[in-house]
């Protein structure tokens, strides 16, 4: 299964964290730090796999992709295929690109809930459920449509407060 999905920038700041085995916050911090230490030491144009036994426990590996200012990292164990995981990162990135129209780091920073919605459509409880970015996008759009329709009734005060609070 997939153990974790991590998006972090090239300074080591996490942008999206999803652990499918519970990790306490302190441990998360430590994991992020060790993953970043490994990745930042790797030059470009090398293979995308890293043995992660020392970080995430025996039998785990991670696959990552370095795009622009971001690292996209999937941690998985022996029930997943390495190259398939690499493809899945591609699906994930493509989906974001579609959802945000030319995605950049800022989109990820400011769309916390939507990012989680996307990840949850692709990976659920550590299992890969959907590999078509089109389907994922549809589902995510459906959710935001539903949320908006229920928003329009009850969220008027919040909209006001949001505008004034800035």
């Amino acid at each position: 299964m997939i153990r974790a999905v991590i998006v972090m920038n090239t300074q080591g700041k996490p942008r999206l964290l999803k652990f499918y085995d519970f990790q306490p916050p302190e441990k998360q911090k430590e994991l992020i730090r060790s993953v970043f230490a490994v990745l930042s030491g790797r030059p470009d144009n090398v293979s995308n796999f890293v043995e992660a036994d020392a970080i995430f426990g025996p039998g785990t590996r991670l696959v990552y992709k370095h795009l622009a200012t971001l690292y996209f990292i999937f941690v998985f164990d022996n029930s997943e295929n390495e190259l398939a995981m690499l493809d899945l990162i591609q699906v994930f990135v493509e989906t974001m690109d579609r959802c945000f129209k030319n995605v950049c780091e800022l989109d990820i920073v400011f769309n916390f809930n939507k990012m989680h919605a996307i990840v949850d459509e692709i990976i659920f409880g550590g299992q890969v459920l959907e590999t078509s970015s089109e389907q994922v996008m549809k589902a995510v759009e459906e959710i935001s449509r539903l949320e908006k329709s229920s928003n329009s009734i009850s969220f008027v005060p919040k909209a006001v407060s949001g505008r004034f609070g800035r």
Binding site: P14, N45, S79, G125, Q127, V128, E130, S154, G162
Partner: protein, 957 residues
């Protein structure tokens, strides 16, 4: 506004703050505009204060926004969220979808199955959201499933398992994504709570044959997870036909990959299954363009179908394609990994791709280099070890520090494997160890230290070269600057002291051991140095005396030479007599001793009175300051050395001209006797089990609490490290005895301490025989490092009768190994973890029950007939299941292996449990005799299973 109303009581935040709530975006903006991490901290703590205020608001909007902020901070800034768990639950029942989703997100990110006692509160809400109703959009049910999947505790799983059923079996196309999510959730629930298997397993199996591809994919994924995690995948074998159908029919690469993974696990269990799936897999391998699928096919063949030559050939061809893909490092890396899978079963494969492998050693990618290194050391054999290791060592000199150590470590492990079974030429190997140390990046000091000493102990023939290498290391000024290599220096010092008789120039050795820069070394290693000086000094002195004796005896023995010591022509005959005179107690190899003595006379002729006293002066000047040293180990040893020195001086040995004078000087001859006795005993390798054979002295309680020890130690103001630690030398009790005899000024402090707390010291009264059994102080036998101990054990206990190839040129020197075969087997047994078969057992129960159901419907007659036919069948599968029947009738088949029997017993006991459970569930039968009755009945049920299994068998054939 509701928010303000709730807050008016707390402190006094400004009106704007309380009136208008900051949104998540505001917080993020504030965080981003903070220039330093310190100001970020303040932003976070301010936001937290806000959140704590807002989250208690009765207004759900305010609450949800503040929870959202908190979730963000907790997820990406690692704040603890557990205090807000209740507030997350409060949001779940909200009719507004965003509220509920925010609540679920917070809960799923932060709830821990065992740490949150609030989870039971969510049970009802989850159940409500699972229920198919128009009020529950899929997005809501999905969030609820997500929480159950991530935070599922056994309790929650048990309560909600049956609520998953409608989701799992819904047929509408609209809910297909929800159904897949339910499958994934069911998997997680099964994993944490195996006793829901009877409820969830059957629907999961049904999902495999669903018409919805998404559901099938999720179900295959779930079974892959289950089969791979199961300690024994046998219970999943009956599902093989389903998986086979998918393997042949499916066009979805994700599904195929998972199916292949399942078959890789199942194929070794059933040989006919292997031959059945072989063809489709090869087809996929030839046909598919997806590299991931191709790689999975390769992996399946190389891991589980290695007996099928043709398939392996095909897979190897594909691997070569991977290896030659220059533009994709991922494929090269995976190709090398695939090769390493075959390394043990088909070494020819690696041989064939040798060139590519060696080329990869200089790849810019670390992963590829490491894999290729492992493959290369895997190729090592007796004939090429010298060549390849020399190359690797040169390569290590040029590589970056990390990889250099990787190389050195790999060489050490491979060459040291099974007591250096690859090494024929130990002179070369010892020299190689010396060269490894010269690598400026070398950080493998500990392992090199261990091997240097170990070779010294085990391989007699390697000692001269070992001493030479040790000397070179000791005089190398560069090594003193690298703390990783201090341990190597310690080993070198020990080796040159212990085997000083092979040294060409003992005086030079003493100079090296006492050079001023050794002050850079830690005290324990300095102690080893000084102890070596002790040995060298006594050796020089004894050889000097022996020289006098030998010359005398030579002349007495009829030879004409009187004053010339250096004449070799006439030595042989008279020396024999010398031999018999000198070493009476020694029943060893006399010719060898003669040669040794000859050697001695040959080499040590340059020990004159002057050189000995020069040596003594040198030692005195260098060691005297150390007798005031603060570290007890150093101090004690320094005093020992000085003690010996002064005692020797007092004897005025330089006045002695001839051997008869020697005998008349009683004190001197006594000292010589003692010195000879001290170091004549050779140290050997120690059996790893020796410690167990040492009987615990009476009155010594090893389990006693030693906490009072520290109190005692502080009383004496001794650093515990110095008084408790051992050095290499300290395990020779005899030597210690000598030391204490010879030391003129015993370090009174330590002696007194010992006297007073003798309880904590092992008795030193052991005779020489037991000496060898005594484990070295640094033998990894302490319970703390189990890993090392077992590793060492495995090394030591490999059968000593490994068939050896004929040795072409030089006979391999004897390597002493200890035979303790039963040591391994027991330790192996203990290391095998008692796997928890809970889930497999539960699933086995469910599956067999499932299978038995259809057969109940009137197939009984045919089934029993079939059973008879199948009794002759060789399938293990059948025999195992028949077993449960035949045992019932008291005739056990002879083919049953022991393992199967235990298997079956577990299986039976499980059934019993289930029976009890069942009876309590239906609350019909409860008495004990009923259970017995049921037992029999169950026998019949299992009998009915048998006809079902042939259905699989037939299919497989």
């Amino acid at each position: 506004m509701a928010a303000t109303a709730a807050i008016t009581t707390t402190s006094s935040p400004s009106l704007v703050d309380t009136l208008f709530q900051r949104s998540l975006d505001d917080v993020i903006r504030a965080l981003r505009s903070s220039p330093s991490s310190a100001s970020e901290e303040t932003v976070i703590s301010r936001a937290l204060d806000e959140i704590r205020r807002e989250i208690r608001s009765p207004d759900l909007d305010t609450k949800s926004v503040s929870l959202q902020k908190l979730t963000y901070l907790s997820s990406l800034h690692h704040l603890d969220l557990s205090w807000a768990a209740f507030h997350a639950l409060e949001l779940l029942p909200s009719p507004s979808l965003p509220h509920a989703r925010i609540g679920y997100l917070a809960a799923s990110l932060s709830f821990h199955p065992s740490s949150t006692e609030l989870l039971p509160l969510a049970t009802h809400q989850l159940r409500k959201h699972f229920a198919p109703s128009p009020a529950n959009p899929p997005a809501l049910a999905a969030s609820a499933l997500h929480l159950l999947a991530l935070a599922s505790s056994p309790d929650l799983g048990r309560h909600l398992a049956s609520d998953l059923l409608p989701l799992l079996s819904s047929q509408s196309a609209a809910s297909s994504s929800l159904r897949a999510k339910a499958v994934a959730t069911a998997l997680r629930t099964l994993a944490v709570c195996p006793d829901v298997a009877p409820v969830l397993f059957k629907p999961l199996v049904d999902c495999l044959s669903s018409s919805d591809p998404r559901t099938v994919s999720a179900a295959v994924g779930a079974f892959c997870e289950l089969a791979l995690a199961a300690p024994d995948p046998f219970p999943y074998l009956p599902l093989a036909p389903e998986f086979y159908r998918l393997l042949v029919d499916s066009r979805n690469n994700w599904v195929l990959i998972k199916v292949l993974k399942i078959f890789a696990r199942l194929a070794p269990l059933e040989p006919r299954l292997a031959s059945r799936i072989l063809d489709p897999i090869c087809q996929l391998l030839r046909r598919s363009h997806a590299k991931s699928l191709v790689f999975e096919c390769i992996r399946t063949i190389l891991s589980s179908l290695t007996d099928h030559e043709e398939a392996v050939r095909l897979a190897v061809d594909k691997v070569k394609e991977f290896l030659s893909s220059d533009d994709d490092p991922n494929l090269r890396y995976l190709g090398l990994r695939a090769l390493s899978m075959l390394e043990s079963a088909h070494p020819w494969v690696v041989e064939e791709s040798r060139e590519a492998v060696i080329k990869s050693l200089s790849d810019p990618d670390t992963n590829i280099r490491v894999e290729s290194l492992h493959l290369i050391v895997g190729m090592l054999c007796e004939s090429n070890v010298v060549e390849i290791c020399n190359l690797l060592n040169k390569y290590a000199m040029k590589s970056d520090p990390e990889f250099a150590n990787e190389i050195i470590g790999a060489m050490l492990v491979t060459c040291g494997k099974n007591l250096y079974e690859l090494i024929l030429d130990f002179d070369w190997y010892v020299a190689l160890l010396g060269e490894m140390v010269r690598n400026p990046h070398c950080a493998k000091g500990e392992e090199i230290e261990r091997q240097l000493v170990d070779i010294g102990l085990r391989v007699r023939d390697a000692r001269p070269e070992l001493v030479r290498v040790a000397r070179d290391l000791l005089i190398d000024p560069a090594l003193l600057g690298n703390p990783f290599l201090f341990r190597v220096l310690s080993a070198s010092a020990w080796v040159s002291g212990e085997y000083v008789e092979f040294s060409r120039n003992p005086v030079e050795l003493v100079e090296a051991l006492l050079q001023p820069r050794i002050n850079l070394l830690p005290s324990l290693i300095r102690a080893v140095y000084i102890q070596s000086v002790f040995k060298v000094m006594s050796f020089c002195f004894i050889s000097f005396i022996e020289q006098i004796q030998a010359v005398e005896l030579l002349s007495v023995g009829g030879s004409t030479q009187r004053s010339e010591k250096n004449d070799e022509q006439s030595d042989t005959v008279p020396l024999k007599t010398t031999e018999s005179n000198v070493s009476e107690g020694d029943h060893g190899d006399t010719t060898a001793d003669t040669v040794l003595l000859l050697d001695l006379i040959d080499k040590k002729t340059n020990f004159t009175r002057e050189s000995i006293s020069d040596l003594m002066n040198l030692i005195e000047t260098a060691v005297a300051p150390l007798s005031e040293c603060e570290e007890v180990e150093v101090q004690e040893r320094a005093r020992n050395v000085l003690g010996l020195l002064f005692t020797l001086r007092e004897t005025q040995f330089w006045n002695i001209e001839a051997a008869h004078e020697l005998k008349s000087d009683k004190e001197l001859s006594e000292i010589i006797e003692l010195l000879e006795a001290a170091f004549s005993e050779e140290l050997g390798p120690v059996s790893a089990n020796a410690q167990k054979r040492v009987s615990v002295p009476e009155g010594l309680n090893l389990n006693a609490n030693l906490s009072d020890l520290s109190k005692i130690l502080t009383d004496y103001d001794l650093t515990p490290s110095a008084s408790i630690s051992f050095s290499l030398q300290s395990y020779n009790p005899q030597e210690t005895k000598e030391d204490s005899v010879l030391a003129v000024e015993p370090s009174s402090l330590l002696a007194e301490h010992r006297k007073r707390h003798g309880l904590y010291y092992l008795s030193t009264q052991r005779d020489g025989d037991e000496l060898n059994d005594y484990p070295r102080a640094n033998e990894p036998l302490l319970p703390v490092d189990h890993g090392d101990a077992t590793e060492d054990l495995v090394k030591l206990t490999t059968p000593s009768l490994v068939p050896r190839k004929s040795k072409p040129t030089k006979p391999r020197p004897v390597v002493i190994r200890l035979d303790e075969g039963d040591g391994t087997s027991t330790s192996h047994l203990t290391t095998v973890k008692k796997s928890d078969n809970l889930l497999s057992e539960a699933i086995r129960g469910v599956l067999l029950e499932n299978e038995s159901q259809p057969s109940l419907s009137g197939k009984l007659d045919t089934s029993s007939k079939r059973r008879e036919n199948d009794a002759s069948d060789n399938s293990e599968l059948i025999s195992q299941q028949i077993e449960s029947v035949t045992l019932e009738h008291g005739n056990s088949s002879s083919r049953k292996s022991r393992q199967h029997r235990t298997h079956k017993e577990r299986y039976e006991s499980h059934f019993k449990n289930e029976d009890i459970e069942k009876s309590s569930r239906h609350s019909i039968k409860s008495s004990r005799q009923h259970r017995r009755h049921k037992h029999r009945q169950r026998g019949d049920v299992t009998a009915d299973i048998v006809p079902q299994t042939p259905a699989i068998q037939d299919f497989l054939l």
